[in-house]
Amino acid sequence: MSAISSAVKRKVNWVPPAVGLALLGLIVWRMVYLHGLNPNFNASFFAGAFLRSFQLGSLYALIALGYTMVYGIIRLINFAHGEVFMVGAFAAYFLFSTTPMAWPVAIVVALVVTYGFMQILNFWRGRLTDPLVLVGGALAFVAVSVALASTTLGWLAAMVASMFITGVLGVTIDRVAYRPLRGAPRNSMLITAIAVSFFLQNFGILAFSNRQTPFRPPSFWTQPLQVQVAGETLFTSWMIVLVPLVTAVLVVSLTLFVTRTRLGKAMRATAQDAETARMMGVNVDRVIATTFLLGSMLAAAAAVMWGMTFGSINQPAIFGILPGIKAFAAAVIGGIGSLPGAVVGGVLLGFLENFLTALFPRTAEFPGITEYKDTFAFLAMILILLVRPSGIVGEDLSEKV
């Protein structure tokens, strides 16, 4: 019985991957045939692409975590997540640029931010003592104080504050747009998500004015960095170290939160079986709100580092779209609903893009295919969906039910 069903399954499953792989082969062959590989590709190029892969991949991973967490818990593809990311960047921009904060003002801001942070966590902790409140509040306070002590850490203060603001935005979106639709068919929520995304784009135009904005907080990390690799000089910035570092810290804290704390366990339980979690006494709405809070905070962290990496942020109307949709592709590649999957998918997408750029760059005599790197991100997603719909890390979908 099982042998038969698996044979049938194989017959059905072989065709799409074969077609997909043939398509990919054709594209790669055309690419190489038309342009040849980058003649300058060497160890230095490789090292640069390798490091940048982790940098860009980390940013994708942070955004993808928001998609995957929300999907895991309410089976919603939150199309507004890219715009949440955009708001995160602009919130940080206004925090560190338009107000050169004087000391007293800065202290008041730090206190307000910490207090808000504590209030939010206090609301979530319910009637139970949770060390999360104190740790969260203290962390925010320390981060902001340290940041204020040295001007080169202003970006960190901006990032923490922006994470707070954006987290509140995520919770508000859930409360206003998604929570009234909890019992509704899934398509209603999906359409609402698209509506929220349009709303935030236009809100961004109104609030931040629709222009590309320089994003250069005074910081040691954005200083240029030159490294000698295989006799050639590699030009980059310290962001190449900072981004994976901050991402690692955030991912590790998220993992600890999800596996060790009471609320984190409730979150996993809700993702696995919301009704039973409710029967254990879990306040499911609160858990969902927490998911939006954390996802949006990670997006804000990614947004600040994105701006620092590229030195500018795009118009609010379009800034969130491409990073958002590519991070979504990353989440699908890794296996949507799975936290390690989002990280794996994000880093993989980073590698794909950077190595395409390194192998087929655009020069005067060498047209290259760098312009098509977005196409390849989505092609990778389509291929994964054909070959392994549950993603690289995600479990077999048939197991869920």
Binding site: L128, T129, R262, K265, A266, R268, A269, Q272, D273, E275, T276, A277, R278, M279, M280, G281, V282, N283, E399
Partner: protein, 266 residues
């Protein structure tokens, strides 16, 4: 099935089976859980129709009935997953029907859901911890963990195994252990025998009896009427959302209509 069940209702001699509420009231006990005139709807469809039920402290009561008779809905109504549209629910004297599910859990209810519904990608320990989600006292929780392990030694051996990789019987043990972890006054069980081997069904009911002997009231929804009635104190029979028969378990076991409809005897 329907026709047969209807005959049960008709065949029940009104004198032979006394109304459960009246019989127990004579002992002068305060009810632990009381459903008064409860009606519920799924959208426009009425599921429960003026249901009255009482569970006294320390009692084991079973709820019998065919498919789609509203058994599971009764449990969900008690838990607050389905809202009452008429009537009221009292738990330990307090009206709980306006409360949320988690508030009711906190007041001392626990549930062993239908199909066990353990969390498949959490370990045995984490599943048990989820049962104690609303509790604060770490020490009391450890005591209860010991108690659960004494009932189900196999759970203690497999603390770090993922729930989804366990057999059906082990999952049933885990689901019961999880419910006990909240140190409940009342355990609600939905079809604990479903999909289990006969030998396991007996063991599970033995353990339910042990739990009940400890003073925890048990309300069990069961298709397997024979086994359930053999250990329960009282029973209710539900048919298309109405209580058609109720009484002491022994009386139900010997009731002619019951025998024909549910106990598989001719």
């Amino acid at each position: 099935m329907n026709a047969e069940a209807a005959r049960v209702a008709g065949a029940a001699p009104s004198g032979a089976v006394a109304p459960a509420g009246a019989a127990a009231d004579a002992a002068g006990r305060e009810p632990l859980l009381e459903l008064k005139d409860v009606t519920t709807h799924y959208g426009p469809i009425r599921v429960l129709h003026h249901v009255d039920m009482v569970i006294y402290p320390g009692e084991m009561v079973c709820l019998l009935g065919g498919n789609a008779s509203g058994k599971s809905t009764t449990l969900k109504t008690i838990l607050g997953i389905v809202r009452v549209s008429e009537g009221e629910i009292r738990f330990r004297g307090e009206r709980v029907d306006p409360l949320t599910t988690s508030d009711r859990i906190e007041r001392g209810m626990a549930v062993v859901p239908e199909n066990r519904r353990i969390f498949p990608k959490m370990t045995v320990r984490e599943n048990l911890e989820m049962g104690a989600y609303l509790r604060k006292d770490r020490k009391e929780m450890d005591e209860d963990l010991e108690y659960v392990f004494s009932l189900f030694p196999r759970l203690g051996e497999r603390l770090s195994q993922l729930g989804g990789t366990m057999s059906g019987g082990e999952q049933q043990m885990l689901a019961m252990g999880r419910a006990l972890m909240s140190r409940p006054k009342l355990i609600l069980m939905d079809e604990p025998s479903m999909g289990l081997a006969p030998l396991f069904v007996e063991r599970i009911f033995e353990i339910i009896k042990q739990v009940n002997d400890r003073g925890i009231s048990v309300f069990v929804v069961e298709q397997n009427a024979n086994v359930a009635l053999s250990i329960a104190d009282r029973g209710y029979v539900l048919q298309t959302g109405e209580v058609v028969l109720s009484g002491a378990a022994q009386e139900l076991l010997t009731n002619e209509g019951m025998k024909r409809a549910y106990l598989g005897e001719t």
